[in-house]
């Protein structure tokens, strides 16, 4: 498969959507849906040829490779920069999630966006293209480029089509991610420089840099650069404050993509880059990272409970859930890592659905304030039932992906630190509190107003919701399909780290 074609498909689709808006405001929607569907189809058709055991590429003969596909051409040979994309099980599931949620996002904003729909969808698709690039790039410079590519259209999505405080939220989002991105760039450059001084060879390639042993304080600072960049995106506790504003102010599709996919790039970066590149430093840093994770879990849950804005509540619940991801990653054993990956997928689906619900509510009620809601079950039973489903999914009810994720993280963590696991488990309780209070304030209770004319979900919304529900149930009841894909990758990563740990 030509991996670049996926990205190009979305980029070109976005351009066409932009151009098409003059002819027919509906055309961009169909074009972007078509582009995503085409990419998804192409992707699935290509990976259908591979079973998870099949290997194509051996970057380092000493270790069995887990890469399924690989594409590499020179870009700036002078500095050893390549256009290098590759796909392994981990990237595969993330790419699949991206494409599915991309489609969901397009559908979710179908009748929400009236102003410049073409440009809107162009930005949407470009963000997705950037995210795909992030999930597949194996050249650190290219990775950084894609990292920025996904940022700018997202900024525009918030700044142009956002709600009341869009300028503030967009600026905050941009500053946080941009500054952290610059830190990462610095870290990448220093790493490449260290590699250069060690080997005399300029390279930004992941495989080359993997071999670079960074030591001492310099290595620690470089690691910290990566860590901050990724945890801002994730977001972890002290860096999360951009997220409630951005999520709340973004249009529905923006929130869906932001929560569903963009946050995962941070987690992906931690798994793919921070820990394998800096095993010793990360091991030393793990207690701090775990503390941040636990703080995030509890802090996010408490703040979610305190919110009156539906979208803010969901946003804080994301902070809480992403705490589990950090814990899973820094526990760094295969149970916890699988849990973290599963959390990425399950949280992507459940939170995207909740943001869609928020968008639908706002579309109908023109408010997100839960104090003005209540008793909506009566008016919109279908919406209420789906919201209930995703609320209980996000509080981690067994049988859905979120539970598998949280349980595995806790299980893996317990082996490392029982105390941390016990503290993180408090998140299960507080998750129940905010999820149920959210349902109570919106759909249950008595009617706040009686003269509402509300229309329930139609087939379009129900079918997207059904996709996500089935996805979550599938993840919860037969998660093995995902584990089979990601297991070899995570095994090789963790064995790499273990090797590095053994070699002082």
């Amino acid at each position: 498969m030509m991996l670049w074609l996926l990205i190009v498909l979305l980029l070109v689709g976005g351009a066409f959507a932009w151009l098409a808006e003059r002819r027919d405001p509906n055309a961009p929607r169909w074009i972007s849906l078509g582009a995503i569907a085409l990419a998804l189809f192409y992707f699935l058709a290509s990976i259908a040829n591979f079973s998870s055991g099949q290997l194509q590429l051996v970057p380092d003969a000493s270790q069995a490779s887990t890469w399924l596909m690989h594409y590499r051409v020179d870009w700036i040979p002078r500095f050893g920069i390549h256009f290098e994309l590759a796909l392994d099980g981990l990237s595969l599931v993330m790419v699949a999630l991206t494409l599915i949620l991309g489609g969901v996002a397009v559908v979710s904003s179908w009748d929400e966006i009236d102003y410049r729909p073409g440009f809107f969808h162009a930005n949407l698709l470009w963000t997705l293209a950037g995210v795909l690039g992030v999930f597949m790039a194996l050249d650190l410079f290219l990775f950084f480029v894609f990292w920025e590519v996904m940022l700018v259209p997202m900024y525009l999505l918030i700044a142009i089509w956002g709600h009341e405080q869009k300028a503030y939220a967009a600026m905050k989002f941009f500053l946080f991610t941009q500054i952290s991105g610059l830190l990462m760039l610095l870290a990448i450059l220093s790493l490449a420089y260290m590699h250069h001084s060690a080997t005399g060879e300029a390279s930004f390639s992941y495989f080359d840099l993997l071999g670079t042993r960074t030591t001492g304080t310099a290595g620690f600072w470089i690691m910290l650069g990566f860590f901050i960049a990724f945890t801002v995106k994730l977001p972890a506790f002290p860096f999360h404050t951009w997220l409630p504003d951005a999520h709340t102010q973004a249009p529905t599709a923006g929130s869906v993509i932001l929560a569903g996919i963009l946050l995962k790039t941070g987690a992906y970066g931690l798994i793919r880059f921070t820990l394998p590149l800096f095993p010793e430093q990360s091991a030393a840093f793990a207690p701090v990272a775990m503390t941040l994770g636990i703080t995030g879990i509890i802090y996010g849950a408490v703040l979610a409970f305190a919110q009156t804005d539906f979208k803010r509540l969901v946003a804080y619940s994301s902070v809480s859930h992403m705490g589990f991801v950090i814990l899973g990653i820094y526990a760094w054993n295969s149970l916890a890592l699988q849990g973290a990956v599963m959390q990425m997928l399950a949280h992507g689906l459940s939170t995207a659905a909740l943001f869609m619900t928020a968008g639908a509510l706002q579309h109908r009620l023109h408010t997100r304030d839960m104090r003005l809601m209540g008793g909506l079950w009566n008016d919109m039973p279908r919406m209420a039932a789906t919201a209930m489903f995703f609320a209980i999914a996000s509080l981690g009810l067994p049988g859905m992906g979120n539970f598998i994720a949280e349980f595995l993280v806790l299980l893996g963590l317990f082996e490392v630190s029982p105390l941390a696991a016990a503290l993180a488990a408090l998140g299960l309780i507080s998750a129940a509190i905010y999820a149920l209070i959210m349902m109570q304030r919106t759909f249950l209770g008595s009617d706040a107003e009686t003269d509402r004319q509300l229309f329930d979900y139609g087939p379009r919304e129900m079918s997207t919701m059904a996709v996500m529900m089935i996805g979550l149930l599938w993840l919860g009841i037969y998660p093995q399909a995902v584990f089979d894909l990601t297991q070899p990758v995570l095994d090789s990563l963790s064995s790499f780290v273990a090797d590095a740990g053994a070699r002082p």
């Binding site: 404050t241 408490v302 209930m388 209980i392 349980f407 696991a421 149920l436 249950l444």
Partner: protein
């Protein structure tokens, strides 16, 4: 047989899914048939399994698929059926079916009929998974699933925010216990390397000796889960509030099945608990304490369902007492009989409520003996069984528990005495209920009579409550053998006599008025105590003070994101800096000249520094 086994939880599950998706478009009749029919079929499947099982006493195991497999962690979707499971399955599907049947009439007027049956079927499915699971993770799935259904059904009439609050309370309080239990699972897996129940027990016996610290911690954590689900001190506060749900729900979930899941869990993992004697003592003490505490609370309640709720807490306390003293079989037996008579009581109470325009206050009932004869006899039989009057089912099971307590080493007699006090109170409050509701003056007259769909379950449950004591439960293979119980004649007499004394006391107070508590109740101390009991020993206030209010305060304090103040601070500093710089750029030529000169001076100074 494997097919039947799979069908048992699958049928209610499918029915639930069907009703959730299409329920609102189906006619009520069909919904009732699907909802109750699925459980009936499921019950038949249980029968079809029970028959060969009782012949061979061979535990069944069916593996559906591998749930996940990561390294050594490989829980399956698989079922394990032995005697204990079979008892539970029979109760769940049997009593469950009766309650479904009853509900078809009870809920007739409700416009969310199909939603009700969807939830109820989902509950049955989850509960079946809970008891049939062969590993603790699958058990946990069912465990949380029933919690969810309990939440959904308690808050079924969602328009009243109080119901929603009760439902949330039920879910969150049990979730606290569940989290402890989840930690227990983590500990068990980490230490013993498996979550399959049978291998786990074997591994525990290999790795741990009796009194092992880890065993104590693990069982304590599991006990946490059991306490939450079974509404024992300190996690019992949700159950009285959970009565906000429809009465058949209270009968099914909050009396017969779900709340006994804790008992099931401890019975299921009894080998672990045997390795941790301190936990067992805690189980017994908590059980006794809960039994007494709830019985006292039941004495003064006025809401008919709350009385029954407290009595449920109290009876489960007895089960815990039994578990704590190692009377596994007796506890499970009491679980079963309690399921019969408590379901009967709830259904009868539901019938009263149904026929009296949703009246809950017992002091506005009275004299219903003649107006609702079917209900009266049902209630009377249920109360007799609850009070453990001789020859009723409750008598056999409670007697077995008390005897086991008497024989327990160490604090046994003390537990026995406490249990007797509880029995006295139980007899008193249950007949207080009977006498107030069904005797005396007619307060509110019923406007309808229960139809056959309500009467039939009542009749069958009457039968079970009376004769249930003779059912032998096939748990001998499950639990370690216990020495035959020989207690003194006096002990037997006392345990027979105490409930009778309680009934007589209730009669004397409420019918013949020979004894009056008026003066005692009117005295300040009496009022204080009765207020305390009415408020359920003020556990709610305590938790509100200890947990709820601090949590809300913290949440309110944090609401506006204090972390953001830090970033605001950074932003303010750069803004201030910006103001400063833009003030420098004030457009005045003279100022520019002056600043140039200042720069020049500075440069000269630096230059001279450099020169010297």
């Amino acid at each position: 047989m494997a097919t039947a086994l799979v069908l048992i939880p699958l049928l209610p599950m499918l029915s639930a899914a069907l009703l959730m998706i299409f329920g609102r478009r189906l006619p009520q009749q069909l919904v009732a048939i699907i909802g109750a029919g699925a459980v009936a079929l499921s019950a038949l499947c249980v029968l079809s399994i029970a028959q060969p099982f009782l012949a061979t006493h061979q535990a069944l195991q069916v593996q559906l698929w591998s749930w996940m497999q990561i390294g050594d962690f490989s829980p399956n979707f698989s079922f394990y059926v032995d005697g204990l499971t079979l008892v539970m399955m029979s109760i769940i599907t049997g009593v469950g079916f009766l309650i479904h049947l009853y509900s078809t009439e009870f809920m007739q007027q409700d416009d969310s009929f199909s939603r009700y049956f969807a939830y109820l079927n989902l509950f049955i499915a989850a509960m079946l998974i809970l008891v049939m699971a062969d590993n603790l993770l699958l058990l946990y799935l069912g465990w949380e699933g029933v919690g969810l259904c309990s939440y959904l059904l308690v808050g079924f009439w969602y328009r009243d925010p109080a119901n929603g609050a009760a439902a949330r309370k039920a879910f969150i309080v049990t979730r606290v216990g569940d989290t402890a239990m989840a930690l227990g699972l983590l500990l068990l897996y980490t230490e013993l390397g498996t979550l399959e129940i049978q291998p786990l027990m074997t591994a525990a016996n290999i790795h741990w000796v009796e009194g092992d610290g880890l065993a104590i911690v693990a069982t304590a954590l599991l006990l946490g889960g059991a306490l939450g689900k079974s509404a024992q001190i300190p996690l019992h506060t949700w159950l009285p509030d959970a009565m906000a749900g429809p009465t058949p729900v209270s009968a099914l979930i909050h009396a017969a099945t779900m709340v006994t899941a804790g008992v099931y869990l401890i019975a299921r993992t009894h080998e672990l608990f045997l390795l941790a004697p301190p936990t067992l003592i805690a189980v017994a003490l908590i059980g006794l304490l809960t039994a007494l505490m709830a019985a006292f609370s039941a004495l003064v309640q006025q809401d008919i369902k709350r009385i029954l709720a407290y009595s449920t807490i109290s009876q489960i306390g007895y089960m815990f007492l039994g578990l704590g003293v190692g009377a596994w079989g007796a506890s499970v037996f009491h679980l079963m009989t309690h399921a019969f008579f408590k379901a009967l009581l709830f259904l009868a109470a539901g019938a009263v409520i149904h026929c009296l325009h949703h009246e809950h206050n017992i002091f506005r009932m009275g004299g219903l003996r003649t107006r609702l004869p079917v209900v009266f006899w049902s209630f009377l039989i249920g109360a007799a069984a609850l009070a453990a009057l001789p020859l009723t089912s409750g008598f056999f099971s409670k007697d077995a528990i008390l005897l086991a307590a008497w024989q327990a080493p160490g604090i046994g007699p003390l537990l026995w005495l406490g249990g007797l006090l509880g029995a006295l109170l139980t007899a008193f409050y249950s007949f207080r209920l009977v006498f107030i509701v069904f005797f005396g003056e007619l307060q509110t007259s019923p406007d309808k009579q229960p139809g056959w769909r309500m009467a039939l379950p009542l009749a069958l449950l009457c039968l079970l409550s009376l004769a249930g004591g003779w059912i032998g439960i096939p748990v001998r293979e499950v639990f370690p053998p216990q020495e035959e119980q020989h207690a003194g004649f006096l002990v037997h007499v006392i345990s027979i006599g105490i409930p009778l004394l309680g009934v007589w006391l209730a009669y004397a107070v409420y019918i013949s008025k020979q004894i009056s508590f008026q003066d005692a109740a009117a005295s300040p101390r009496g009022r204080r105590w009765s207020q305390l009991w009415l408020a359920g020993w003020r556990f709610d206030d305590f938790y509100s003070w200890l947990l709820v209010r601090p949590y809300q305060t913290i949440a309110r304090f944090l609401r506006n994101e204090p972390v953001d103040r830090f970033y605001d601070f950074i932003a303010a500093i750069s803004l201030q800096f910006n103001h400063l710089l833009s003030n420098l750029q004030n457009g005045r030529l003279r100022w520019y000249a002056t600043s140039m000169i200042m720069g020049l001076i500075l440069m000269l100074i630096l230059g001279m520094e450099g020169a010297t």
